[in-house]
Symmetry: C2
Subunit: 365 residues, 2 copies
């Protein structure tokens, strides 16, 4: 089997540099390239890999912007006739079509997509643990060789990600619904805040913050992503638009009638159904509490509501050598405890429960 030792990363932004950091740490030989000598040097200085390497890689990871990814993939396939090539763009069918149109050797190309990222971009924001516990989707085309698929899968898993294999078209439809349309909705809702008075904006609560958090995203990147996945986004947007139009009609009916619940027949039902359908959809998202990525394990620890108890919990976790991935605090009232939702990598959750239990903590899965 084609054993990957030397990985060449083309594109030293957030994803490429983070992959370089992680894979270097895992023992791979990593070489770096970026059209910008500065980006390349920064990534090298951070420890993501070597520059100026000319010998042939076993696998190439193309981390170029989505609108040039296909072109770069085709070039790399041509340049290294023995290498497997993958890319990390968040749209897959368009890249595959582009590689095919450019005459690239599709048996050695396996598109993929790490579901990871940060609001900040660029090599300086890169982290070796960016992919830990995240999902990395592997999207072989019809012509991808099994060996190539296995190589890409192995490299993705070496970064700490969990892999899912999916057809490129299925992937694009999935990200349209779970990523691209939510981004649009978040931006559209946030745009309404521009014209509010200062007093009005002070009424912002947790709800609007949650809904608009991803509205901080970069316009140029998202224009590339959305235009690259337009075919898959269109039907999801259509469905959203149909529902929103029905809601607007119901709201307009109700606005005309005041509080009299005997008027505007059916309007309230439209609203109730909309919220109820949202509940059903939300319930399908994996994981507890909606705050942990798929591949984290979350437990709930009961924390007595006295000073210093939370500190004791973290001391005990630290002594057990268990890394805290994320934390959410829930204050209890009426009862003198709080609830700490603690997220850790799945590989350590059983040990966490044992160790905390042995130190007297009450832990719920």
């Amino acid at each position: 089997m084609h054993h990957v030792k030397h990985i060449r990363i083309v594109g030293c932004g957030l994803i490429g540099t983070s992959a370089g950091l992680s894979l270097s740490r895992s023992g791979f030989r990593v070489s770096l390239h970026d059209p910008s000598p500065t980006a390349q040097a920064i990534a090298r200085d951070m420890g993501a890999g070597q520059t100026g390497v000319t010998d042939a890689p076993d696998l190439v990871l193309v981390a170029a912007p989505p609108d040039v990814a296909a072109h770069v993939v085709a070039d790399e396939l041509r340049r290294w006739p023995q290498a497997v090539v993958t890319d990390v763009a968040s749209v897959k069918e368009q890249v595959l079509n582009g590689v095919r149109a450019a005459g690239g050797d599709l048996s050695r190309y396996v598109g993929s997509h790490p579901m990871a990222g940060r609001e900040r971009s660029g090599a300086v924001a890169a982290r070796a643990d960016l992919f830990d516990g995240r999902t990395w989707v592997i999207c072989p085309g019809d012509d991808s060789a099994a060996e190539a698929v296995a190589a890409v899968k192995a490299v993705a898993e070496a970064t700490g990600a969990a892999t899912v294999t999916m057809d490129p078209v299925e992937h694009d439809h999935a990200v349209a619904a779970v990523s691209h349309v939510p981004q649009l909705a978040s931006s559209l809702v946030a745009a309404r805040l521009r014209e509010l008075s200062d007093a009005a904006i002070r009424l912002s609560g947790q709800g609007i913050r949650d809904v608009t958090r991803i509205a901080e995203s970069d316009p140029m990147l998202w224009t590339q992503i959305l235009s690259g996945n337009a075919a898959a986004v269109a039907p999801v947007l259509d469905a959203l638009l149909d529902d929103l139009t029905a809601v607007r009609t119901a709201i307009t009916d109700l606005a005309g009638t005041g509080a009299d619940t005997d008027t505007a027949p059916g309007a309230r039902q439209v609203l109730a159904r909309t919220i109820a359908e949202g509940q059903l959809g939300h319930a399908r998202i994996p994981g507890k509490h909606g705050s942990a990525p798929t591949a984290y394990a979350t437990v709930v620890v009961v924390v007595p509501d006295e000073p210093g108890q939370l500190g004791r919990l973290f001391n005990d976790m630290g002594e057990a050598g268990i890394n805290l991935e994320d934390l959410h605090l829930e204050h209890g009232e009426g009862i003198p405890v709080g609830l700490a939702e603690v997220s850790v990598l799945p590989s350590v959750v059983d040990r966490l429960i044992d160790e905390l239990g042995a130190k007297g903590w009450t832990v719920h899965r």
Copy 2:
């Protein structure tokens, strides 16, 4: 000045019971009433106040569902001719109109709205600290007496909330944009997840979780809220619908053209502008990092990336007697530190910075 000692709470749900818990703790005499004897008894047993009280209150807090709030307010105004009455419904103009139509004494009525709540409802979910650090909006009508306004403001502040005074119509427009339309958008986006395959839903990342968190909300309550504020929601929805339609047109154009960036003129600009406008709107939301309510103060503490350091931080906070309100962890990579975003009540943040600094922590505001 009309000094409030005895507060009567009508409606023992989440808000009413939480207010009772908080105000009882602050030294007020609190009496409780609910049409359901069970809800009333639960609230009493939790410590929210006394039941079966017949003497006249100084202030009545009506925490009934939005669609009956006006009716209950008018009844209470009539029953206690010396009392100031407020309600907590999240729409204000409709309640004021309803009280006026029922012939209630508007000089003693001052509507208000605590911007607090939880996904769970009912007395059993009530918390004495529900309003700590939250915003409680005071919405006097044209006829509200100044003394009545002052009384409601004082009671709201006694629960730990920060008050904002605002005209009822201005309030309704504000919550349409910062609460009601975001709720609709969240539900509509979440509804798209119902028909996804199990593999597709696994691609859910932090973005969709944030956007759809409030899609867990209760349909019946939200139908009441939305229909009660339909007049203010309608223009915000119209603006959203117009923008979404423009985006859909741009997406459809791009779907028809593939990756060729010379086609679909203007379509990419529509997308870029949409995301950029969302950035601008999002930037107006007060507070750092989008995760703390308006009235928390957040500092960033640099935590060396070694086991036990986080525990040391919490020990030190506990020793200083400072309560941790919320926490968000940011892992640093490339550098051996993590960043802990620590939220505390504004009244203790200066002390927090001093105490942590004295113990050797690096703290940034």
